[in-house]
Amino acid sequence: MFLQQLINALTIGSLYALTAMGATLIYGILGILDIANAGAYLVGAYVGWYIFHATGSIVLAFIGSMALVGLGGVVLQRTVYSPILAKPRTLSIIPLVAAVGLFTMSSDAVRLICGAGTKAYNLKFPVMVYKFTVFGKKLTIQPAWIMIFVLTAVLLFILWFILNRTKLGLAWRATAEDAEIAGVCGVNTSYAMALSYILGYGFAAAAGIMTGILYNSITPALGEVPSYKMLAIIVLGGLGNPLGTVIAGLLIGIAEVFLSVYFNLPIPKDAIAFVVLIIMLLIKPSGLLGRKNKV
């Protein structure tokens, strides 16, 4: 039972990590809370659905949706966020309001274009469920979980590799710390920003598709819960810290599954993330892996 719940929790948690990663990458480099990542998650799920049903290939659906949504992110960065931030003395609330607006627009656009009803991925795996016996306990694993776990691990590994093992990643980390000085070192900082959007929106799109497959349904409301839960996760992880986001995502997944299975909580499941966040912030205000802000 415990092992079964742990597997559920880690599957959900890794989806959370992937969903929130875009917001973390964007916060890390631009210092803005881009709620519109939840729009990328929603649009990504729909674009993936259309590609899958047109071509029958889930691989194409992932690649195509991630690429299109990632490019869409760069377009938004160039046309909305960077111009706002380029204005002298921009209040940090302004890009946040823009992001909320973009997210609302994306939900409504999906509702208008694709209809308000539910769409099902109906992805057929060769085996619909695996059953094991471990330590005398019965264990069921759905292939969708394996797919989510493996794909998330691969994407996060690619992210880790780019950030820590390439020249572009070094430039990204330097830009995140001091964009002005990275610029005078020779970094075209708008590329570093574009990298955040391509990867961030692309990851959100992949997470959207995986959620669609996991629950076998997508609706235009798909982005609503992630739009706020994402905030809890990135703050919990220590704003702008990719590794912290992975840990926070898994932690929230674990907390949700175990608290709702073992305790009869008087609060809805989606509120647990915030309870965990509040407890955490009381203990360590800078988040799990956050740094204390320098003044």
């Binding site: 070094l170 980390r173 330097a174 001091d178 990275a182 610029g183 005078v184 070192c185 970094v187 075209n188």
Partner: protein, 233 residues
Amino acid sequence: MLEIRDLNVSYGMMEVLHGISLKVEDKELVSVIGPNGAGKSTLIKTIMGIVKPKSGTVTYDGQDLTKMSSFQRAQLGIGYVPEGRRVFGRLSVEDNLKMGAYAVKDKERLKKNISRVYEIFPRLGERSRQLAGTMSGGEQQMLAIGRALMLDPKLLLIDEVSMGLMPIMVNTCFQVIKELNDEGITILVVEQNANKALKVADRGYVLETGNIVLTDTAENLRSNEMVRSAYLG
């Protein structure tokens, strides 16, 4: 090598530099001295493209820099040691140096430059894996200079190298600056420590509240009455 003409710079409504003109010849070491808030850092930031001028031109090697981004100026070989060091605190010493050479494409040259910086500042070599943010102020200043040298700069802009350093470190830094200039790097230093800055420089400018009030050879400036009373104490 570097020519600035009629430069006006404002922050919002407040004009900080009022039509400044200044020249640095090939292989020269020029100092700009002036009190707090005179606009020295603003001048350097404008040359580096961090701050955009309202009017006036910055010409380097015959090219107009005015429309270029910071990264393009770095690619032209302009190195910058910012005020307050501003090393990348979450990166290792070596990664900071690699960042300094971001515009350098040749891997061999990168390696050569790193060993040269370690030769000039052996302390950096001993601590190549330490996070820059955990280094002492003096070590960070060495790193800031080393980072700028990684580019093989033709022109080096140095803002307030002496700030917050103990006297012996200040001397070391100025000695390094002098040696770099002897090796053929053109250098513009901006300093409150007029005494030291004028000792190593060929020529100097005095900047006060956004205007150049005096310019001469460093030697003449050091014996100038006004400079003596206001800056050399």
